[in-house]
Homo-oligomer: 466 residues x 2
């Protein structure tokens, strides 16, 4: 329990209605969406509504040597928001105002607690979209998805969160508030701190305001599906689409395990004997261009030994997408625990990665269904297991180790969009080497020498603090 | 003159043919493309060909307390490469190999000395382009333009350098070599250092390899010009084009001073009484979409009281672009010194900025022609003067001060694409405030505590070193 005096100070800063200390109130802040992680009840949850309040909360935390755990919706998938040590969970749920929509400059300025889907709803009347679309778009916040540099289905064509954040206000561990970037597409004044803070999982600074880039909503789209007898054909089709200079809005793949599981779960008529499905959608501002691209994709599919279905209207499109929409719910229904990994490889190595995932599942006798974003090489090997079965859990951990080793061997990366958090710290040196880890620690200690901000995530705690 | 022993060590590392010590050989490394800057002859110029050599040169510099000045083509416009203090100019002119073109993953991996134009020539056979296009594309290097985060004419639609660098190898001031990012569109392993090093003007680390994103080359384009009687009409047309949800590849503006000067210089039939010209080009993968967008632009121009010319073929297009191409050469011919500024404002404030530039020219009795990238609010007020006339030069400096103050008042930034270097350090606190300056110094000292890397640029030297 926290010192009563500290709780009082926090109440004076944010108002007593914005400080939670009851166990039941704090329960949902003790975990996030990551499976297979420890839970930890916070000492206190503080819900500020302004950047100035955040500065004052940081000052109180500093004085009292308390850790701070910034938190959006807690929908992240690498244990990034769990309050491991004594300290304050800083929830942005009530700091959720859209401060400005500026259609002339194609920007929006928001507080970090704004839900991505709410921003998109607010800008829709202007014919604009904010493209990053993690699966959790209906709950995830702008601040949280910025801290995680969230990706989603449209990464290949539209990029990820970091490609859309133009300006930020950050409260540092020192309590100082800095602003950088803004509404101009071009800005080379000062060092550009955007990508340093984006994806830093709240370990380097606390985001209190974001200015993001908007784009005109694409007006037309067409979806199609290819059903493959081999993984190689599917991989060749992905390569062929890019070689045809079509950059689809989405290009998703599902392996046989996922196809069978979805079909058993949802009965939507998927071919359970298929080795892979590709789901592709092209979009744009011109019906003619969208049609041209759709035909080019269908031609590529046709050259790669697959049965093709193309949607002719929105209802048919939704039917095709039902397969992908059901992938995670279907797989997750197979057992009590579901680890969704996001090992990522260069697009050209996607077949090898899928083949490896099947081999790893067989080798360790574990259940793995793999689906994901073929266009950007970002796969989700999804491992289903019984966490109460120790032997099975041990095999799962070996399988996960080998999945990451394989991704690195293929020139890929440990995490495409889920982040490091607590879940992947142990693999970091395999990808970054000692000099990369050292650089991370240099950054951490330059900005947060006392490890107040989300300690124990991304950068291992130094022995003296651990 | 440098200690002979040090020169010998450098020769052993890079080969004696790659070490320059003669005054005539080093002369062209004593300045860059920035007007109104001091010149300083280097103590030695070293031309490495590998990242390992760079590491060893850094080690020699550290041991001997010598500064290092990384340098591409020296085409930058803010004094960023001038070797102010005793030390080594590290030129990347001979470290200029294209290491890989990977059309399947839409990437290229290059050494930093590769000229941007050479990369584009090499990838053209694949139907791909590297979009960033600073005016100096024929000479500027990938490493230099990355260090400056160069922009260019296509920023609005295609973004700037930072949007195309996916992976980097960096040699730090400590001598350590780090790699981060790579060929995957998505990568959230570790902190993302890309934008921190991009645009840091060689003050935080030395880039020794770059992996960049390529895109399919647009197949069609159409250019058109609007001739306006008022700056307000031109500004409204810019706003109208964006409101019509057309994002042109280029959207350039020229003021009356520039129009008159170009016409006197090149005799291409420009209307010298016009208050502003807008030059617009739309491009894309579909003739139909390009035509639709061109017609939308022409309709917007028509609603804003201007005479419109549209190019119907490449020859007519080149004729339209001749106006813009001649802007800087024409203005530069007016006097012996030409400062090209790059004050940048949100797109919606462009008219106010142009009006202010005219007023500032009148107030201080100096010659200013303004042109630039209206689409992204990135203007080039270009000041022509006689540097041997002290009174005039003093007035010019006052005018420049006021141009930057105005850009900041309008919600803009000191530099859109030219960088800070030595030229704009004195204005930094006006934009960043003390907390922003402190954060820059924190970064500089975390990565380069001894101020070995390009000292005296971007971050003022501390008193003890100055």
């Amino acid at each position: 329990m926290l010192d009563k005096r500290v709780v009082q100070q926090l109440q004076e800063v944010v108002g007593s209605q914005n400080v939670l200390t009851g166990k039941m109130d704090m329960l949902s802040y003790s975990y996030d969406a990551t499976a297979d992680m420890p839970r930890q009840l916070p000492d206190v949850v503080v819900l500020p509504t302004t950047g100035e309040m955040v500065q004052q909360v940081v000052a109180i935390a500093r004085t009292n040597g308390l850790a701070i755990y910034p938190r959006g919706a807690g929908s992240n998938l690498s244990g990034g928001t769990i309050p491991l040590r004594k300290g304050i969970v800083l929830s942005f749920q009530r700091m959720n105002k859209i401060l400005e929509i500026d259609p002339a400059n194609l920007t929006a300025t928001v507080q970090p607690g704004v839900v991505i889907g709410d921003l998109n709803a607010a800008i829709a009347p202007y014919g604009l979209i904010y493209p990053p679309d993690p699966g959790t778009v209906a709950t995830a916040t702008m601040g949280g998805s910025s801290a995680e540099n969230s990706g989603g289905l449209r990464g290949l064509k539209y990029g990820v969160t970091k490609n859309y954040i133009m300006g930020m206000e950050i409260v540092l561990a020192s309590g100082a508030k800095v602003r950088f970037g803004g509404k101009t597409v071009k800005n080379v004044t000062a060092y550009d701190f955007t990508t340093l803070f984006i994806g830093s999982e709240g370990t380097l600074g606390i985001t209190t305001e974001l200015t993001c880039k908007l784009i005109p909503a694409p007006k037309y789209r067409r979806a199609m599906m290819g059903v493959f007898k081999t993984l190689e054909d599917a991989g060749n089709a992905v390569a062929g689409i890019i070689a045809a200079q079509v950059i689809p809005a989405t290009l998703e793949i599902m392996d046989n395990m996922t196809i069978r599981t979805v079909e058993a779960f949802a009965n939507i008529g998927l071919p359970v004997e298929a080795k892979a499905l590709l789901l592709c959608e092209v979009d744009g501002m011109s019906q003619e261009l969208v049609n041209t691209e759709a035909e080019a994709v269908i031609a590529v599919l046709g050259r790669n030994n697959c049965a093709t279905k193309a949607a002719n209207n929105d209802a048919e499109r939704d039917q095709l997408w039902a397969a992908r929409r059901n992938a995670l719910p279907a797989l997750a229904s197979l057992n009590n625990t579901c680890i969704v990994e996001d090992a990522t490889v260069p697009r050209s190595r996607i077949t090898e990665m899928l083949v490896a995932c099947e081999a790893i599942a067989a080798k360790y006798g574990v259940t793995i269904g793999t689906f994901g974003h073929a266009g950007d090489g970002n796969l989700h090997p999804t491992i289903l297991f019984d966490k109460y079965d120790e032997a099975m859990t041990a095999q799962v951990h070996l399988a996960v180790d080998e999945i990451f080793a394989t991704a690195l061997e293929l020139g890929g990366t440990l995490s495409g969009e889920h982040g490091i958090g607590m879940a992947k710290m142990k693999y970091l040196s395999d990808e970054l080497g000692q000099s990369g880890l050292d650089l991370m620690r240099t950054m951490k200690e330059a900005l947060d020498p006392d490890y107040l901000l989300n300690p124990g995530k991304m950068v291992p705690l130094p022995a003296v603090l651990a």
